[in-house]
Symmetry: C2
Subunit: 473 residues, 2 copies
């Protein structure tokens, strides 16, 4: 338990602003973005890596469990304390001291407490951005700790690909600082230790600073809704677009009829873009982008997209049933409203799956076949990042159904869906949300014992202290 | 020592073709591509992961040191046995059983023994390639183990970025097989263990199979030689190209006058492309590429390049002194001949450095300033991948000089260059060649003790056996 002596000592390290103990002030740090609510013993808000180091060293030495927390926008209970009231939340929200832009290197050395939107706003006037496109607005530390992907993975990759270096505090008695804040793109002089801390949700150390790769900001975009001729035509359509557009293609997002309908029903600002208001069974949002305005003699990008679509129409067994180019803002508005829409459609049970791209539609078909007999109350409202294999497989049950009030229903549903996704399709049970208390049981279930043993050994080597919500070993 | 009983046991595991003991047949496995020559006790040539596992388990149990070897094209003595005659080389050259192409997923599951050129030849008819562009023709296992980068890193990244999964055999008594051959692009369900084996030269395990990301093959290229207005204009030139071309820009290579002159002197097939034969102090080879042929209403790529160069000419303080677009084949022929050229110019002492991009020219300037006083015999013949910060910093001394025959000269020169590159410029002493016996001493010198301790712990957890040429801990 945390007594007054500990609070005094930590206040000595972090100052008055750095230690929060008032329940009212702790509330935001105890509640997650969707599912969870816990109770913290106190909240630590260091401002520098050295303060993190001193606080962590103190807590490890005195057996105080630490929960690192960044933007707290995650969906798997990876950044909030449990109900015990014994854990200290260590928030990164004051770690915004550093913002060193290197234009020649196209890189940014930055404190882990910055929000993604703040970073990109500061970069805009330089024509650069950190190319991870998300619905939420997390802080950088959490983005690294969960290795977020998002809607433009197809072109830019995930956070791992765009991280050049990190600074980490280990949960040992010294609060050891590992400085791997290299600005180098090519550097093969040993183990690439930063990889251990990316995607492991703070269990092996707390990321306090990072060096990010930046990309030139797109100046032109063109978007289209594509209606595939059938589910089996989705992959031929994607391949036709990739062949003809290469690195122009920056998004290829899939939206099921149920997900679109839920958004149109529950988000009043949306217009129904489909002819006669008839939502197709499945729609692709394709986006092209390039980093320059049209030059003399060059077609604007929507004309390029029209040409490519016409070319695909004329191919043998055309994968398209319908297609129309439209304004990017409106087309993305519908895509971004899907998440909000399904939340209002009933009780939401959300899955963040991924597959080999060619397996996505087969998985969805199997679910559509088997769900009615297995979990009759469930409506499937899937959408996802077809271009990179990610599927936000959202399931909705009526709020007034027996299933909605049955405490065990969700667990049975999850067990069944994951078994098919992971065992039958070699898919992932957490594509881009990483691990937290919410899905720890599936890590335990689907991870080979040898891997768990190795992870345990690694934990002992790096951060033996009680750190994070997840146990990997 | 390896006696007849061991040879008989290993032959039992691998068959007659799998065990080589004749000195004549072992020769190619004992000699490196540039520097080294050792002596092997025997050479093991397994054909499957299961054979690797059984052979490794046997060798670890019986204390036989193992040197994994792939294409043996490396330049840091990372894949050949030492002079002791006690080590067994484990070659991947027969690991070519598997070649499973997944067109929908744009990925390839493949045995680690394939050569890069063979892979790309088989992929060509599908319009795909593995986008790592190298002078040498290594096998895949070694490319992963050294995390090669090459000339088109700027657009496609390194091997790490393009590896989706691996299968690894650990050097423990069981020859444990870790199967991480996922085809998934988004998967955040624990530690990304493959990262440990990429770039660590086989010391933590032997990669036997991998899943690679493939990219659409470029159909159009355009290249130009750009002469920067001065060394200080190289970065503004790169930024101007990146701003205007985004993902079109696939290479931005720098060539010093001395390197170009050495190639023109020693490679007779080359034509001197410069006006009046006057080689500029520094030349950039810029390449644009895209994955489609020009469509109706679309400029061919060399016209795009001309337009962009004209636009850069017209900017304030134009970073260009001269520029001309020319045939890609000829322009690359000179670039690819640099390595051969400098080898013939005298005794070559090669460095594979990297820097923040903005530091490259400053480092080269400092070397040009200080080299004459410090090592007067040395001619600097640098070239490199300016777009990603890599510099092949090649130094040449006359073959008949005292320096060429002074055994300690090379060490003193390396100590001095590395000290400036690593300590003063925060650069890397091995950008893309990784570590081997040749540069182990600099790993030892420049790596923090805490990192070495962690690496040692990791070695014990994964592959406690005697494996590889490098000690990381």
């Amino acid at each position: 338990m945390i007594d007054q002596a500990h609070i005094a000592a930590l206040t000595g390290i972090l100052g008055d602003k750095g230690v929060v103990t008032e329940p009212r002030d702790m509330a935001a740090y105890q509640t997650g973005a969707r599912y969870d609510e816990g109770r913290a013993a106190l909240v630590l808000r260091p401002e520098t890596t050295e303060e993190v180091s001193a606080a962590v060293g103190y807590c490890v030495t005195h057996g105080i469990p630490l929960i690192p927390q960044s933007g707290n926008t995650g969906l798997v209970s990876g950044s909030t304390p449990d109900a015990s009231g014994t854990q200290a939340v260590l928030s990164l929200d004051r770690m915004t001291q550093r913002f060193d832009l290197d234009l020649d290197n196209r890189s940014l050395r930055v404190g882990a407490g910055f929000r993604l939107s703040d970073v990109n706003q500061k970069l805009e006037r330089h024509g650069l951005f950190f190319p991870i496109d998300l619905g939420a607005d997390p802080r950088l530390g959490g983005m690294l700790a969960t290795n977020t992907g998002g809607s433009r993975f197809l072109k830019y990759g995930d956070v791992r690909r765009n991280t050049l270096g990190i600074k980490v505090v280990l949960a040992d008695g010294e609060g050891t600082i590992l400085d791997h804040t290299s600005e180098l793109r090519k550097n093969n002089t040993g183990i690439d230790w930063k990889q251990l801390f990316i995607g492991t949700v703070g269990s092996f150390g707390i990321i306090t600073e990072c060096v990010l790769n930046l990309e030139p900001l797109p100046k032109q975009m063109a978007t289209a809704y594509l209606v595939p001729a059938s589910g089996a035509h989705v992959m031929p359509l994607l391949r036709a677009m990739e062949d003809r557009l290469g690195a122009y293609l920056s998004a290829f997002e899939g939206m099921s009829k149920n997900a679109v309908a839920a958004a149109l029903d529950h988000v009043p600002s949306l217009k129904n873009p489909f002819q006669g208001g008839n939502v197709p069974d499945y729609v692709i949002l394709a986006e092209l982008s390039r980093t320059w305005d049209p030059r003399a003699g060059e077609q604007p990008l929507d004309a390029v997209l029209e040409t490519v679509l016409a070319d695909i129409w004329e191919s043998e067994d055309p994968p398209l049933a319908d297609a129309f180019v439209g304004p990017a803002h409106e087309m993305w508005a519908l895509r971004h409203a899907l998440s909000e829409g399904v939340k209002h459609a009933g009780k939401l049970i959300a899955f963040d799956l991924s597959f080999r791209r060619g397996d996505i539609m087969a998985f969805c078909d199997r679910m559509k076949d088997e769900m009615p007999q297995t979990f009759a109350e469930v409506t499937i409202c899937d959408f996802g990042h077809i271009g990179d294999g990610g599927v936000h497989f959202n399931l909705v049950v009526p709020r007034d159904s027996a299933a909605a009030s049955d405490k065990d229903f969700e667990r049975r549903l999850r067990d069944w869906v994951f078994a098919i996704a992971v065992q039958d399709f070699n898919g992932s049970f957490s594509a881009e949300h990483a691990i937290g208390r919410k899905n720890q049981a599936y890590y335990d279930l689907y991870t080979h014992q040898k891997i768990k043993d190795m992870a345990h050994g690694l934990k002992v080597i790096t951060s033996p202290g009680d750190l994070g919500t997840v146990s990997f070993g």
